[in-house]
Structures are given as C-alpha cells and as structure tokens.
Subunit: 385 residues, 2 copies
Amino acid sequence: MLGDLAHRATASRLMHYSGLTLKTNRIPVKTASADYSVYVGNDVFPVLRRQMASQSGRRVFVLSSAEIWALWGRRFLEAFPAGAQPTALFLPAGERCKRLAQVERLAGELAAAGADRSSLLIAFGGGIVGDLGGFLAAIYMRGIEYVQVPTTLLAQVDSSVGGKTGANLVAGKNLIGSFHHPVAVFADIGVLQTLPDRELRAGLFESVKAGIIRDAALFRFMEKNAEKILARDPAALERVIAASIRMKAEVVGKDERESGLRMILNFGHTLGHAIEAATGYRRLLHGEAIAWGMLAALRIARARGTATDAECARMERTIVAYGPLPAFRASAGRLIEAAGRDKKNRAGTRRFVLPQGIGDAVVVEDVTDAELEDAARWVLARARG
Amino acid sequence: MLGDLAHRATASRLMHYSGLTLKTNRIPVKTASADYSVYVGNDVFPVLRRQMASQSGRRVFVLSSAEIWALWGRRFLEAFPAGAQPTALFLPAGERCKRLAQVERLAGELAAAGADRSSLLIAFGGGIVGDLGGFLAAIYMRGIEYVQVPTTLLAQVDSSVGGKTGANLVAGKNLIGSFHHPVAVFADIGVLQTLPDRELRAGLFESVKAGIIRDAALFRFMEKNAEKILARDPAALERVIAASIRMKAEVVGKDERESGLRMILNFGHTLGHAIEAATGYRRLLHGEAIAWGMLAALRIARARGTATDAECARMERTIVAYGPLPAFRASAGRLIEAAGRDKKNRAGTRRFVLPQGIGDAVVVEDVTDAELEDAARWVLARARG
C-alpha cells in the first residue's frame, strides 16, 4: 500500500489543517513511500479532534482493547463529532491473540459494517493493537488508511512509527506482516498515567537504546534524570518520547526497508529475540528482553573495544537504572540456537549491532561462535537472579 | 514490499541473463514500484531453467496444486539443477481454500523449512494458487520475492500480471490482499494442453475483454479466428495470450494502484462480481460471470449510445462465440444489491466500465438505478437458459 496516491493525498489533508495552537510536538516522518506526522504532547486528543472534523464522509473504525477502552474510550470518543462516532472493534489482550485468525475475524467485522477502500482505521492501544491493526489496514481490500494512537510507552517510542505491521505464527513472532505506514500518529502522554510501572520501564529501555545508538544528548538526559523520568514527570517524559521518535523517524526516513542504516535499531535484538523465544514469550516483556540483549551486546562491544570500558560501564549502568530487569533461566544452547534463527538474519549470517562509543553504533556480521557463546553464558549467569 | 531494493536487484538479475535464443515473447512490465518480464511461449521452461541456474545460494519453494503437480510437476522440476530442487508446498483445490487459514499453514511450513527473507517462492498453478501464493510471498517476513508460473489461460492473461494478490473472506472474494509484484512471470502455452475446455473458454472471455477495452486488433483477430483459437492452435493462442498480457502490462504500467486507467480492466466486473456472489460462487467460473457482466454492460452502452448498435452487436457476438455461457438463476433484487456492495466502489458510487466503440472504454459513475435494473433483468432473462 506504500506509494498509494490516495494514501498520500489524505496524509496531506491530515497534516495541513490550520490554526494549531496547542503545545504539541509535530515530528515529520518522510520516507520514499510515505509522508506523515507524529504528534507528541500532554494532550493530543484536541489535535486528533481537529483532524477528524475534516474527515466527514468517510467511515471511521477504531480497533482497541477492552482495557484501554474502559480507561480512555470516553476521552477518545470526544475527538469525534456527535454524528460521526467511529465503529469500535476489539482485540483480546495478549501476544497469543496477535494471529491471523483475529485478523480474519476483524476483517469480517469491517466488511459486515460496510468498510470500503476509503474507510479509515484507528489503532488505539499498545503495540499488539498497533501492529495487528496496521496489518489489518494493510491487507483489508489491499490496503486502507490507518492512524496510530499508541497507549503504551513502548508503542509510542518504537512500534507506532516506521510502517512495520505484523502478526505472529506459532513458529515465531512477527513472521508475517507488511510495511504499511500510518497517515498520522498521536502519542499522548496523558494516557501513560494508567500504564503499569513495569510497562513504563520496558518502554524506557527502548529510549535508552535510541540514545546509545544515535542520540548522545538523549542518553545523557536519561543517564542524569532516571528518577524524574520514572516518576513520570510530564516534561521529562515528553522530552524522552519526542527525542526517541525523532531518532526513529530520521533512521526510517533514510532506510525505510531496513537494507542498511535501519538495522541499527536492532541493537539488543539478536539476543533479545532469542531470550524471548527461549523463555516462551511469557517471562519477559519485549523491552525487558531487549534490555538483557543490549547488556549482552555491550559485553561483546567491550571485549572487542568498539567502545571504551568507561563508555560501556555508563551504558550498562543507565540500562540497569531503568530496571529491575526480571530474572529468567534458559539453556545456553537454546539461546544460541535461537539467535541463529532470528529473521533479521539473511541466509547464514549472524548480525549484531555494537555501540561505537555513546550515540553511535555499527552493524557487524562477524561475531564468532565463541563471542556469542560467551555473551549468552554471561547474560544467563547474570539473569539467574 | 513494492519498491524493495532487493526485489528490484533480483528482478534485474532475472532479466539480464544472456544467450536466450528460444522463440519466446518477452513482455516488459514497468510500474512505479516494479520492473519485470512476462515470458510467453510454447515452451518457456528452458527460460525458467536458465534463470534458476543463476539463483544459487538462495532457497527456492514452489506452491502448487496436487492436480497440476501430477500433470506437470516433473517438467517443472527439470528447470532446476540437480542439487537445487525446490521444496514443494501444496494448496488444496477450490475457491474455498483461498483463505487465511491456508496462508497461515503455508507460512508455518515455510518457517519450518527454514525460508528466510532471501528465499524465493514460485506459484505454479491457476489463479487461486497465484493469488494466494502471491499474498503469502507479500506477507511472509513482510515480503519475499516470488515468480508466477500460471497454468490456466485466465491466470496467464489476467491474474498473474499486475501485482494484485489476495485471499477470500466469508463476506466476499479477495477482500484481503496486497499489491506485490512477481519478479518474473512464465506463461507456458504447452501446459494449456491439459486445461479443461470450459476453463479455456472462461480465460478467453478475458482476452475478448482486453480487445474490447483497448486492443481493436486483438478483438478483430478473436472475432475472425474463434474456431482456430478454441481448437488450441498454438500460434493463435500465443498471439491472443501475448496481446492480452501486453494490454494489461501497459495499463498497469500507467496506473499501478487502480486510481484511474486501470479501472477499465473491470469491464464486465460490476455485474459479473454480483452474479458470482448471487450464485454463491458455485455455478459459474469467474470468466463466465464476467462474460455475462460484459453483455450486461453492453446493454447499457447500447442504450446510452456510447457505442453504435453495430459495434455492440459485434462485441456481443464475439463474446458469445467463446461460449457457451452457462445458464444461472438469481433474484434481480439480490443482483442489484450485490452490484452496489462491490469493493471496487468507493463510498456510495456505482462504477461501470462502458465500451466506446471497439478497442476503447470509459469509466462512468452515473449509471442510474433504472439502467442497472434493466441490465440486471435483461441478463437474468437471457441466463435462464
């Protein structure tokens, strides 16, 4: 659905509304095939309301979870004119429901409700709602437009930007999906008030990642202000979220399909994904597994000297400051085997992202079996709790 | 997956092999996001063989049907080096199996067999294998490359070119899908030897359509040579197939996403789709329903005078010459209702393609309820048998 003319036309329509006076950050995302904005602020619903007012004549659907809907559904619906309330669809909670069977059910509900090619879908929830909702929009009638309204920190700083959508197979997470960009993203800091503490921390690990791989200023801010950020100080959170999104938007703008630069976003992911797989996706949140994966990658970076000992120590300390990182157990063999199977690897290569100092990273394909095994054993020893 | 650099790189790799001396038509398809070739000839397997020889190092998978595999599997496998035979996956026969549950099963089989982002999928079969195989390739790991080797006339002249892939919902055909172009298409006239007569005719209706909407020379050739073509004269078939593909390639090249010109390909589809829906997709083949739909559209064109009576009579006679068009029964109300629900319609409009003489067509949105009802009743009376 990339490059779709209708898509672009509406993206422009959504962007060029007039009279925005609210204190909201607008972060542009420009890729070869898409051009849209991410709005970040303490209350972005009024911006959503203005944009929805200009969508008259088209059917609007919202995909959410029962939990988010109970907490924030009324606030969300206020963004729509009285006569143009969206039709709500729901996805049951949990990674288990991020499957094609749900996509099929939801597509059937869209069809039954009369959704056509000009309809708009809004994904209002965490990463699972966003990924599956984006995928539903990507394949319903070969692609309809969608908007992301992410309600977890992880979804705001990571999955809602960049156009990756997907569903899981039994064989692995996100093994099916599409690249399909939203026409706009609204990251509201207000909805984070109800986010469980553990999920907040899991999202912050991705922001620490953003700092380590590409934004030294963000890293230093997070290094110095962990207490304030963890206490959900709105200004501090806004700074972290906006900087994380800016970093991702810039990287995705330069490499939409992950053929080069975008790979650095996978810092912590080679072993992080393996840890998720080896623990059956039950023990750790995604961000927590990535935090463990980052510590493992730092172990390799330190041994190779791609970053100095002092820099590695600062990066490790800052990751740990946003913990606790939950304990887990797994066999080293399984972890190593899973790291080799990661879908980010092309035929036979084993790809690692290693920091080069703070705010810079490099993708390498020459990590040896011995290095991988050492990092895996080190993480397992440390994670035993 | 459109615009994917890897995709383009391989498309070029596939095209620029050297030393082709076989009598094979190569028809280029160039769109904003893809650039590939369709090979048409009495024996295109040697061309496939040459291209596969240059794919060493990547895993190749083939999706087929048991029926086609039994008839042509051995011939197909000869195209592969001894040490690089593709892994075969199978789709059960019938429109009923063009569903997400099969996509999920097949994606699981790909994952279990170790398919990665650099793997290649070949769809070797009729339209259902091609559409579902293309969709599987579109969403497996967010898109892998695929090749079409269509084995029915309908798939050769229509569905294998243009990048539309899809699956059915209970609510309707092709309600989910992606735009995902193949990296090459091989239309072999030899495999049509085993095609049932009724399916040959159903495919030829689409070629008559190609002549009516855009290629007067093709129309005249089909008007004069029905007997020879229906007798499967290889030279006559080759001319019809190559001209039909050329027409489609040209239209898709100018309007990849069906925002304008490509809509003319839907001549006969507004009522054709409605007839398929109203008869539960069981009574008629797709091409047969389109033939009835073309006759209905000609009824409207004749009444409006967009084509002369004499031209309309020639077009009707030529459609009927490739019949018989099987009888069917349906209620006029259901047909009209289904015509309004067609997914090709954007919010509220009713879109018809009407011939303007022979070899030219126009898309209109102002067909009245009365015109639609007259056309529906006329077709139903004629189809009663």
